[in-house]
Symmetry: C2
Subunit: 388 residues, 2 copies
């Protein structure tokens, strides 16, 4: 795949979702399972197009080797499921949580599974559901595993989602000036991204839409997972680090840049350059067959050899899909090879207290012979110094 | 408590959080537990004031009978935890997910628990965490149980949160006209609520802030859990049903009303009246000592006796706290008595396909001798007909 795949905004077809279900069943055969039970709302969305917010009323999807999957649904939500699901489902409703004896979800659910059979369950399943699940239970993340390799349809949706964040990030760089507060950035940029989302996808499901935009100014950009206060202000110089993330009707993507307002402090030039080169090294290794743990190891070694080993605090990258953080991982200890149609972030970082953080991140598709960046913003230092 | 409790916007004190921890330890003694492990981000927030978004890098809080609680934290997040936690914590960091062998969370975590001891774990704990938890494990929801009875501080925060939604709901009624689309309502009303939140609480933690405002027009208000499309429009007449929900820096509250634009269709008058009277009946039963399952049963009976039994699709109410849906429940089958300082919604509903939905909801505090509505909006039919 050398050309950029086409952007898609349409809902998935029944064929697309039935293909995914077929893949689940293929893996069930390999693992010799009679049933697979999904509780994780992300996995249920992946197979049905129905998204739920997890609360005390559980939704459970029960897949057998053949036939129509069964779904345990609170009575109140039946028409909600029907309005969004693009898949045949056989509903088993329960009344409420809690319900009178005999009418609870845990009265309805176990009857759907033969207690002598082998039942695959997700490692994310809560104990309260696990305890009520009959059968010989085997913990295995079949759907999570399948989600690692994207279908062409998913890739088209991610291409579109990247258009949304690319537009958002452009605005970040346009409006960033010393003194601009976080809340102004957040409000304007998320507004732009939300507007584009609803213009492009008028029936977008807001349960699986999110938009975030924030900038870490140099006084705390060394600390990438602190949450900025809403009145924190952009500063002179840098490094500032932006995060623009969106889940666009079910497709999560990100773009992040290290940039400067007016001037680049002398002491920031080397770490920027090392981060930039570490990133180039990572990209040079992005092709099918490369071991993902080894890529992270090599990138860390490069940063360490250049004097910043003490300032690495996270892996080189993570998978993206329905969520913003998921398998696969560019992380030491993750022993798996890159394959075409994986979607990952590439974001080696250097974080120096007193100076700031240095990180670019992109949403990147692994192709047959390398990679393709789906997100887009300036990358070079001279393009990332905003004139005041 | 007859006067309305004072509104609070300040962060909790160390004493407040240490009181909550003491309560956990008291219950640990009762249940003869040596450790209690919390994974649920809501429970960790309740005890520490630190909020996290769940992802593949787990946070785990380990409480012993005495001493400083231990927290397993990804390296990347340590300063984030420190910046928000209002409690002494002993940190055990792990590198990343995944990490090289020996450096993963599941290498660090089990060492903190003596394998011969009794360990309480939450029923919401994912299997992947449960499997790595040593000791004799007992599933018990101690923190969820404690959260049912609010402290005076929590009540003060909920009083404030209700001011936010009351303001939001006032705007809903002000701007609702036939033809106004959902997205306009959503944007304006959530904007007003978010602005008030950050004005009142400049250091609000946005991980535990949410704002939602939507109206179900009569063409689908019979279906309360369908998610409205963003271009759906308000209609003539009614019943329209509003939902205004906010989590205001960690305190979730709701207000909902059935209202009409211009005119009340003749056939809507009786169901409105029955809903209104069912609600009055529920309120008349709200006092310490009343069985919560029985209240729901009586309310259902009243609605059924008045001819709408087939149109009940949910319980009379649910608890509110950090989340918008939690224990306790006004639901048949929930055998528990009301106690002072519970915070619940009261919202019996009638849903008639082809006519629409009828439901008011309020956030209500149980007091020593009855109840106090913390949310506020017009309730009577004639106050809820908006002149065009």
């Amino acid at each position: 795949m050398t050309d950029k795949p086409k952007s898609i905004t349409a809902s998935p077809t029944r064929e697309e979702l039935s293909y995914r279900l077929g893949n689940v069943r293929d893996l069930m055969k390999v693992e010799n399972l009679d049933y697979y039970v999904s509780f994780d709302p992300v996995n249920i969305y992946y197979l049905t197009n129905f998204a739920n917010n997890v609360h005390e009323r559980p939704f459970l999807l029960i897949i057998e080797r053949e036939g129509i999957p069964k779904m345990v649904v609170p009575l109140l939500e039946k028409s909600h499921v029907e309005s969004r699901a693009i898949a045949d489902l056989e509903y088993s409703n329960y009344y409420e949580f809690p319900s009178p004896p005999g009418k609870n979800w845990y009265d309805v659910y176990p009857k759907l599974i033969d207690k002598d059979k082998k039942v695959g369950v997700e490692s994310a399943m809560p104990l309260r559901i696990y305890e009520k699940t009959p059968g010989v239970k085997i913990v295995t993340d079949i759907i999570d595993e399948l989600r690692i390799i994207k279908t062409d349809y998913e890739i088209g949706r991610s291409v579109h989602a990247c258009k949304v964040i690319n537009k958002g990030h452009k605005e970040v760089l346009k409006m960033c000036r010393p003194g601009v507060p976080e809340f102004a950035l957040y409000q304007k940029v998320t507004g732009i991204m939300t507007s584009k989302t609803i213009q492009d996808i008028p029936n977008a499901n807001f349960i699986v839409c999110k938009a975030t935009a924030a900038v870490w100014p140099p006084s705390f950009s060394h600390d990438p997972h602190i949450i900025p206060k809403i009145f924190a202000e952009m500063e002179n110089g840098g490094p500032h680090v932006s995060i623009v993330y969106a889940q666009v009707d079910g497709y999560g993507v990100e773009i992040e840049r290290t940039f400067f307002l007016g001037e680049v402090p002398q002491e920031a030039k080397k770490p920027f350059e090392v981060m930039y080169q570490a990133r180039e090294l990572a990209y040079s290794l992005l092709k099918p067959g490369e071991n993902m743990g080894e890529i992270d190891k090599k990138v860390r070694k490069f940063i360490t050899d250049n004097g910043y080993g003490d300032y690495i605090i996270h892996r080189t990258g993570h998978g993206l899909g329905i969520t913003g953080h998921e398998a696969p991982f560019l992380a030491e200890g993750y022993d798996r090879k890159l394959e075409p149609n994986m979607l990952i972030s590439v974001e080696p970082g250097i974080y120096i207290p007193g100076l700031g953080g240095f990180r670019h991140s992109d949403t990147v598709l692994i192709t047959e012979d390398g990679y393709l960046k789906l997100s887009k913003a300036p990358e070079k230092l001279d393009e990332l110094v905003i004139e005041l």
